[in-house]
Symmetry: C2
Subunit: 338 residues, 2 copies
C-alpha cells in the first residue's frame, strides 16, 4: 500500500451521511504485521516469531487477564490489549459536527485480543468442549468489564480464521471491539427483530422451527443453517431460552455451548477442508430500550469464506449464495466425526 | 467447495427476517469457471481460452447488442447474457410467504455482461476517454432496455477488477443485474439522502464542498475521496448537476465522464500498483416516490481492495479504514500521468 503517514493523528469515527453508516479511521492499523505473505496461504506456521505463543508474552501489548487467573507459564487463555488498535482507550469520547454538517467522533473505544491457546498449532476446534466453554467465559468476563466503562455502548466479539477471512495472525485468537456507538447493522437487526415481534407477538429466534435446516443440538442450544444464509454453509448457534445478551451465559450453558461449537467447527472443517471463516457473536447493546427486550435474542454466526464477494454485494447489500440452506444443513448434519 | 448439487432448482431470492435483507440463491453460480488458480494472482493472461476475446464470440451466452451496432468482427463493446446468471430472465416474478412467515421470491431478473474491449490485455484505464464514454453509453442503453421489462425495479451496474475484488474472468468487463426488488443498501441510501434534504433543504451531493478531498474535475463531474470513505483510497465521481438516474447521461456528459474516469483509474493504478477494485454505479430505482427526486443523485464509486475485510465489518457494517481521506485525496491529486 502507498504510504500515507500521518503519525500524530488520533483515530476517528466518522459518519457517512450518504449511506448513514459509521466508518472507523485508524492510521495505526496500516502498520500492523502480517503472518501471511500471500492471501492464498491459509495457515503458515512461523511459530518461532509468534508473539501469541507461550514464552513470548513480553512481545505483546499489556495483558488484561489470564485463565487460570493465578497461572504463570501454564496459562490457557490470555486476554490482552491489541497492539494496533482500531480504537483507542486513551481518548475522550467526543462527538462533533462540522460547519459542513459532517458528523465525526473521536475514535474512543477498546480493542482487545483473546489468545485461545498457548500452543501455536491448536485451532479452536482442537480444544476440548470445556476448553471452548472457557473461551466463551473469557469473552463474557471481558464484556462484563467493558460494561462498566463509561461511554461503551456495544461490544463486538469476532474471530478471523485464515487469511481470506481477514486474519493477519495465524495463532488461534479472537478479538473484541468496544464501541461508543451502536453499529448500524446492530440497530438494523434489533429493529427488524422488534418488527417481527410486533407482527407475531413472538421473538423471531424463539419462534424458529429448524426442521430441514437443523444441523445439531445440545441441551441449551441448537445449530442450523439460516433460511436466508448470506454465505454458503453459514451456521448459526442459537440459545434455546430467550436471552438478549451473550454475557448472560452461565457456566453450565458455556460448557454446553463449548461442546456444540466444537462439533460444528469440526464438521465444517472436515467437510470443507479447513476453510477460512469468521465467527461472530451477535448480542445487544448494553442499554436497550425495554421495548426491545422481548424481541432481541443473542446468537452466534459462523461464516465460512468459500468464495469472495464482489461489487454487487458491496453496492446492494444483497449477497449471492450458491448453496441452498437445506442442502448445506443436510451435508453438515451427516458429517461423521471419527 | 463441497458439492451440494440440486440440478433442478430454480434460483430464488429470500428475505432474512433477522437482518431484514435479501439474499440471492443461485445453484448455477457454483459451476462457473475461474481464470484464477489462486486468489493471489491478479491478472493471468490465458488469452487463448478466453471466451470474451474477439473470435470467441460463439463460446459466449447470447449477445444482446454490440457497439458499433452493425459491426461484425471489428466490434468495440459487446453486451451479452451471463452464462451463469445469479437471476433468471426465464422465471415469472412471484412473491411468497411460508406458513412459518419466511418471505421468498422467485429468482427472476436479468444478469448481463458488458465486454469492454475485444482485446484481452486492455484494461478500462487503457481505453481512450471517448472509448470509456462509449462503455458508459452501452451501460445506459442496456439500462433503458431493462426499464421496459416488467417487474424490474433496480439495475446494479458493477465491475470487478482483479481476483481479490471478486473477478473470475480477467478480460475487462462489467456486469449488470436487474432485480425485481429494491436492494436494502439502495433503500437505505435513498432514505439517508432524503433525511439530509429534509434537514437542510439541499441535496447532499449537490451540497458537497470537496475542498481538501478533491482529486480532479471536468466540465460536468468532480472526483473526490468521500469524507467517510469505507475503503482506503476510495474514489467517488459525482455529476455536478442534480440527476437522480445514471441513464439520464447524455452523449456529451458520457464523453466528459470517460475522460475523468480514465484519469482517476490511471492515477489509482499508478499509485497503488494496479490494485484489485470494484467500480459501482449508484443510481435510483426506476420508479421512485416523487418525494425522493430532489434528494437522490447518482454517482460512481471506485473501491480499491488494498486489505481484506474481517469479522468486525461483517458483523457490524462498520468498516475500518487505515487511510484518512484527506491524505488519500492529496496523494491521488498529486499523481502525475506521463
Ligand atoms: N462464456 C461466457 N459467456 C457469458 N458469460 C460468462 C462466460 N463465462 C463466464 N461468464 C460470466 O462472466 C462473469 C465474470 O464476472 P466477474 O469476473 O466480474 O465475477 P463473478 O461474477 O464470477 O463473481 C464475482 O462477483 C459476484 C457478484 O459481485 C460475486 O457474487 C462473486 O463472489 C465474485 O467472485 C461471471 O459472472 C460468469 O458467470
Ligand atoms: N504483539 C501483539 N500484541 C497484541 N496484539 C497484536 C500483536 N501483534 C499483532 N496484534 C494484533 O493481533 C490482531 C490479529 O487479528 P486478526 O488476525 O484477527 O486480523 P486483523 O485485526 O489484523 O485484521 C482483520 O480484521 C479486521 C477487523 O475485522 C479487518 O479490518 C482487517 O481488514 C482484517 O484483515 C491484529 O488486530 C493485530 O493488531
Amino acid at each position: 500500500m502507498a504510504e500515507a503517514e500521518a503519525p500524530n493523528r488520533s483515530p476517528e469515527i466518522r459518519k457517512d451521511r450518504i449511506h448513514n453508516r459509521w466508518v472507523l479511521f485508524s492510521p495505526a492499523r496500516s502498520r500492523r504485521p502480517s503472518d501471511f505473505k500471500a492471501k492464498s496461504n491459509p495457515q503458515p506456521n512461523n511459530k518461532t516469531e509468534c508473539p501469541f505463543c507461550a514464552g513470548h508474552e513480553h512481545e505483546c501489548a499489556p495483558e488484561i487477564f489470564r485463565v487460570p487467573a493465578d497461572s504463570t507459564a501454564d496459562w490457557k487463555i490470555r486476554v490482552i490489549q491489541n497492539l494496533f488498535p482500531a480504537v483507542s482507550r486513551e481518548l475522550e469520547f467526543q462527538n462533533s459536527v462540522s460547519a459542513l454538517g459532517d458528523v465525526a467522533a473521536s475514535g474512543f473505544g477498546f480493542h482487545d485480543v483473546v489468545i485461545e491457546s498457548p500452543v501455536h498449532s491448536i485451532n479452536m476446534s482442537d480444544l476440548s468442549p470445556s476448553q471452548v466453554g472457557e473461551v466463551m467465559l473469557a469473552f463474557k468476563k471481558r464484556v462484563e468489564q467493558l460494561q462498566n466503562c463509561d461511554n461503551v455502548k456495544y461490544v463486538q466479539v469476532f474471530k478471523n480464521h485464515g487469511a481470506s477471512a481477514g486474519a493477519s495472525m495465524s495463532h488461534s485468537h479472537s478479538q473484541m471491539i468496544a464501541l461508543p456507538i451502536v453499529p448500524p447493522a446492530v440497530s438494523a437487526r434489533l429493529d427488524s427483530m422488534r418488527e417481527y415481534y410486533k407482527q407475531t407477538g413472538k421473538c423471531s429466534l424463539c419462534d424458529i422451527q429448524p426442521n430441514e435446516l437443523l444441523i445439531d443440538q445440545s441441551a441449551h442450544f441448537i445449530s442450523l443453517v439460516p433460511f436466508a444464509a448470506t454465505f454458503a454453509f453459514e451456521i448459526w448457534i442459537i440459545p434455546r431460552d430467550h436471552s438478549s445478551h451473550f454475557h448472560e451465559l452461565d457456566n453450565e450453558k458455556a460448557n454446553d455451548l463449548g461442546g456444540l461449537l466444537k462439533l460444528v467447527l469440526l464438521k465444517m472443517s472436515l467437510q470443507l477442508n479447513n476453510p477460512p471463516f469468521n465467527l461472530l457473536i451477535h448480542t445487544s447493546p448494553f442499554q436497550v430500550d425495554p421495548s426491545y427486550a422481548p424481541s432481541t435474542h443473542w446468537f452466534l454466526q459462523i461464516a465460512p469464506h468459500l468464495s469472495g464477494v464482489g461489487g454487487f454485494e458491496i453496492a446492494t447489500g444483497c449477497h449471492i449464495n450458491p448453496v441452498f440452506p437445506e442442502d448445506a444443513a443436510k451435508i453438515l448434519r451427516d458429517v461423521r466425526i471419527l
